[in-house]
Amino acid sequence: MLLIPCPYCGERAELEFRYGGEAHFRRPDNHLEASDESWANYLFMRKNPKGWHRERWMHIAGCKRWFYVVRHTVTHRIAAAYKVGDPWPDLPA
């Protein structure tokens, strides 16, 4: 069970959170005019990397805020957690 550093509440056990998948995938600008391909990319395609991953979490049993976490998908190490609108921390080497 992960220990997730909520940027608002501090470290809490994973069972207080809801996972939201990959972070920062972009809704196409002028989405109503977006091509079928770019819209399908936005809807369905996610990276699923082996390694560092920027992802979305919501502290559903706490402050109910969505935020971002940099997590390694193999070791589960968490390098950073940051709020919506914060500058993105670099991925660890």
């Binding site: 079928d36 819209w39 399908a40 919501m58 805020r65 969505w66 589960h76």
Partner: protein, 989 residues
Amino acid sequence: MTQDFRLAKGGRVDRDKPLRFLFDGVAYDGLAGDTLASALLANGIHLVARSFKYHRPRGIFGLGLEEPNALVETGIGAAVEPNARATAVELADGLIANSQNNWPSLRFDIGAASDLLSPLFSAGFYYKTFMGPAGAWKFYEWLIRRAAGVGRAPDLPDPDRYEHSYAHTDVLVIGAGPAGLSAALSAGRAGARVLLVDDQVEPGGQLLNTSYTVNGRPAIDWVAEATAELDRLPDARRFARTVAFGAYDHGYVACVERAVPVTQGHVRWRERIWHVRATEIVLAAGAIERPIIFDGNDRPGTMLASAARGYANRYGVASGRRAVVFANNDDAYRSALDLAEAGVEVAAIVDLRPDPSGTLPALAREKGIRVLSGHAVVGTRGRARLKAVEAAPIDDASRRQVIECDLLAVSGGWNPALHLYAHAGGKAAYAKALAAFVPGTPADRMSIVGSAAGEFTLARCLADGSRAGAEAARRAGFTASQPSLVLDADEPEADARIGPTVAPSRGGKRFVDLHNDVTEADLRLAVREGYRSVEHAKRYTTWGMGPDQGKTGNILGLSVLSDALGQEVPQVGTTTFRPPYHPVSFGALAGRDTGDLVVPLRKTPMDSWHEKQGALFEPVGQWRRAKAYPKPGESMHHAAEREVKAARESVGLFDASTLGKIDIRGPGAAALIDRVYCNAFASLKPGNARYGLMLGEDGMLKDDGVTARLGPDHFHMTTTTGGAASVYVWIEDWLQTEWLDLEVYLTSVTEQWAVATLSGPKARQVLGPLTDVDLAAGAFPFMAFREGRVAGLPARIFRVSFSGDLSYEINVPARHGLALWEALMESGRPHGITPYGTEALHILRAEKGYIVVGHETDGTITPYDLGYGAMVAKKKDYLGRRSLTRSGMTGPDRKHLVGLLTKDPARVLPMGAQIVERPSEVRPLPMIGHVTSSYMSPTMKRGIAMALVKNGRERMGQTVYLPMLDGPTVAAEIVSHVFYDPENQRRDG
């Protein structure tokens, strides 16, 4: 019965506290401080089990959790616990234990015939033998499961309670042996919160089982002092009887604590799971002695040398009168010396090494113990108990000598217990000198010390433990200076050389995995048959797959595979250690979450009324809802029919409290609502409500519900009962991550409002006398909202309808729900008001053609598919809009919502029935849709159904066919899905 094998003195048992217990119906005496195993051995009993596959007689082999043989059943009736290790069962007065897997008795087990046939039962036997004919496997499986196996699960509900607790600590130390205890002490002295867990009753680890000294005094005295100091530290805690069974992410370690046994009545709880979260972990889990592979190595009376010395030192029990020690390392000589010291005659030490010459062998020789170097045990004699061993020089089996003995103590070296280190992500490395795996790569938040790290001298265990504890405290942020532990462990130097772990074979049975009855021959066969990967060989033979997870057999098996494959052990690889380290009962894992507490039951404020009326309930998510209110002698269907009639002809009352409700406020509230619904909401005036369709970004219907505008910046949104939480999270997601321009606040108020729905032509007459709100159709039209008082209670009234008749949804603060309900029932009595449940609700809405998300939708249905295209806004943007113009979202392949009328009006189609175009008998047939809802309609007096049918709106009037599983195909006509009052005169009147 007397304890003939209890030594005259020594041991940590309390000789003033005799305990009486039953094993296989015979009463024996033991002492407080015994385990079931030590008490049985004190009475001369080795034979306690029959093996898994061959039903071979098996004796007590180990001392603790590593035990592969001595699995017994404890307790009686509902409190039976199968597969308890006799070596880990704390003796209590009145304990009842029984052997397993034998019939008619432990000594005369018919199943042992399989041992005579054992040449047939090699690895893969089942796969090769029990093949055809088709279906026969079910019989074979029954047969095999009867013949093979371990304990029986109790067939009564467990009467005991199990608990879960949470613990947070700076430093968690696993194992209270010399390394763990010194680690805990130095971390505690540094000021850190320390938690020390250990599976034994008292701390000390191997120091309980051995005769080491610290600072010139018995090591156990140091254990007592260290423990006393630890107990005085304010932030140190110790859990005894607690097994750390899994190390997970980020310092999370799961442990299970067993209760102190009681002699009378029930324990308060039987087992307790500890969810431990530690900043730093020091793993000091010790090591497990490794046996040696030799012919007849499972004869009862054969045990690990460390176990034999542990029974003598800790329990004051001689495991035999005359022992042979079979060794490949110096530590075995310590065992031999301890046995001799306790008064056991050591007939010989058989050492596989050609030239054992260190301090310990010299000490043994000094004591007059015969050392047969360069020799191996090549056979054992006796049936249910060892009578003699055959020993021979390694290179000349013909020069055999028979040595009479009743105890064979085996030592093939030690394996560090790396299990939790591997759980935490550590990768082990092979240390050839130790013939064992030791820690390789670092594991997250975990340091590993003592014999678990491959350090086998007491001095190093103490020093490394102390340092690791201090470092763990420092990494956790505690830097207080502390006196270092000055400990002088006085021990004869051991020769580090380890001999082979496999003795020469003379063709006898040679077990690698005692628990699963896997022999060396099985592993070699697996390699010959192509199972060259360690993971394949494991699964083909079941080596290491028993509940002991190969604690004694894993490394032995690797050396066999290494030989069979001609590869070094590191190239052979290892299997993966996974939690749990030791089996955990389902009772402990479930904790208090059993029965009614598995899922919290949500009840509405009116629930007690429904219950008093004898309502039938159905679960809807976590809620229970009244399904119908049958009168005495009435079936659920008859009750629903009566309830529907009342709601159509006079008035019905429905508990709608479970509807999801979200209070939405803020200057951006109106814009938010307009973006999350695909139909227009900007024009909604305060005081009015509107039915909304919510789409996912993929354009599919996600949820629906009525949202009312209470004020310019204030909305009351309702969602489906099941969708409340996901809709809330979904909207919050958009607000927090995409629409930062909107200032809006959402509050889930599902539980804050009780909702009673009056429905039917008399609804106005029932509500009128109770309220100050003007109910006249002109003043309070359909889809309007009013605030006022109902029965003196503050209320919000929504004039909406899910039945198709005149309807008022009356919301009051939840605490007034029951009062509202009773007032409405009282006011409705002259009109024959009838409470109706969810079954009637579903019939009413199906008659009217209203959809239910999850019935008429399944995540692939758009508003156009449902025929709601006219509602979809043309100008505004909303979630899911772009997807509605993707290819495949329109055209003749889309399924449309339609109605179905069977040719036989009495026929009610099964929900989910598939629809085809032609009544052909040749199957498979292309399916063009399925039934989504289907009821016998009391109003239409016939069966009605809603269905999703490919291009259904272009098929109006066509006949389609529904093949049935249990009868002839049914024909039905495609019609509009609105069966009742399509002009909405009744609803809007």
